[in-house]
């Protein structure tokens, strides 16, 4: 259920995310010290072009990566094929994109 194009999308999104995930983990370890607060998070991210691009890229890549990954699992474990498999892939991708974009806007803009 993965042809060459989907495989490329899966691997390229993985390569884009690799440095972002490592950075995300580092920020988590740094930020979690002393507990989290809305003011602390927004103080770091709000109005920052860097964090907007960082999380924006992250959300796009993870939406593609998760949609293709779950597509494969839905086929292998749930035997989904054809129209419903493609629909599921797109729905997962678009839902994650929409919710992710909302989160990025919430913490970096306004």
């Amino acid at each position: 259920m993965l042809d060459l194009k989907l495989y490329m999308a899966q691997r390229i999104s993985a390569m884009i995310m690799a440095p972002l995930v490592l950075c995300h983990i580092a920020v988590m370890i740094y930020a979690v010290q002393g507990g989290l607060s809305t003011a602390e998070i927004l103080g770091r991210t709000q109005g920052s072009v860097f964090w907007f691009l960082f999380y924006g890229t992250f959300v796009i890549a993870v939406s593609v990566h998760a949609a293709i990954g779950l597509r494969v699992i839905a086929h292998e474990w749930l035997r989904l094929t054809g129209f419903w498999l493609s629909t599921l892939t797109w729905v997962i991708c678009l839902v994650l994109l929409f919710m992710g974009a909302r989160a990025v806007v919430a913490v970096t803009m306004l």
Partner: protein
């Protein structure tokens, strides 16, 4: 029957990669929703972050950081296997990914409590 009765290290690495991937994908919508509270309801986000100081939540967070780490280091092993010259050390590399992930998620946990 999903598997031969005797599993082996790389089969185990595959299962870990798949299950961590599913869990992270299911966690993402919740994560996104909570972060978007900053936009719609900042008080609720603050209440959630206070709730997150609960030790049980810290353990859940530790698990999530471990799953994220094992998914990325396991994934980097697969990328290296596919795009770099072949290495016969796949089992050792998979074990190293587990060790590194425990170290990183352990560091997170110690900083969080």
């Amino acid at each position: 029957m999903m598997r031969p009765s005797k599993s082996h290290p790389l089969w185990f690495a595959f299962v870990v990669h798949r299950l961590s991937g599913i869990t992270l994908a299911l966690f993402l919508p919740a994560h996104f929703w909570i972060m978007s509270l900053a936009l719609t309801n900042a008080d609720q986000l603050d209440r959630f972050l206070t709730f997150a100081d609960n030790p049980l939540v810290k353990i859940v967070e530790f698990c999530l950081v471990f799953l994220l780490s094992i998914h990325i280091f396991g994934g980097l092993r697969l990328l290296a296997m596919e795009f770099l010259p072949w290495s016969n050390a796949q089992k050792s590399l998979a074990a190293a990914a587990v060790g590194l992930s425990l170290f990183i998620s352990g560091t997170f946990f110690l900083q969080a409590i």
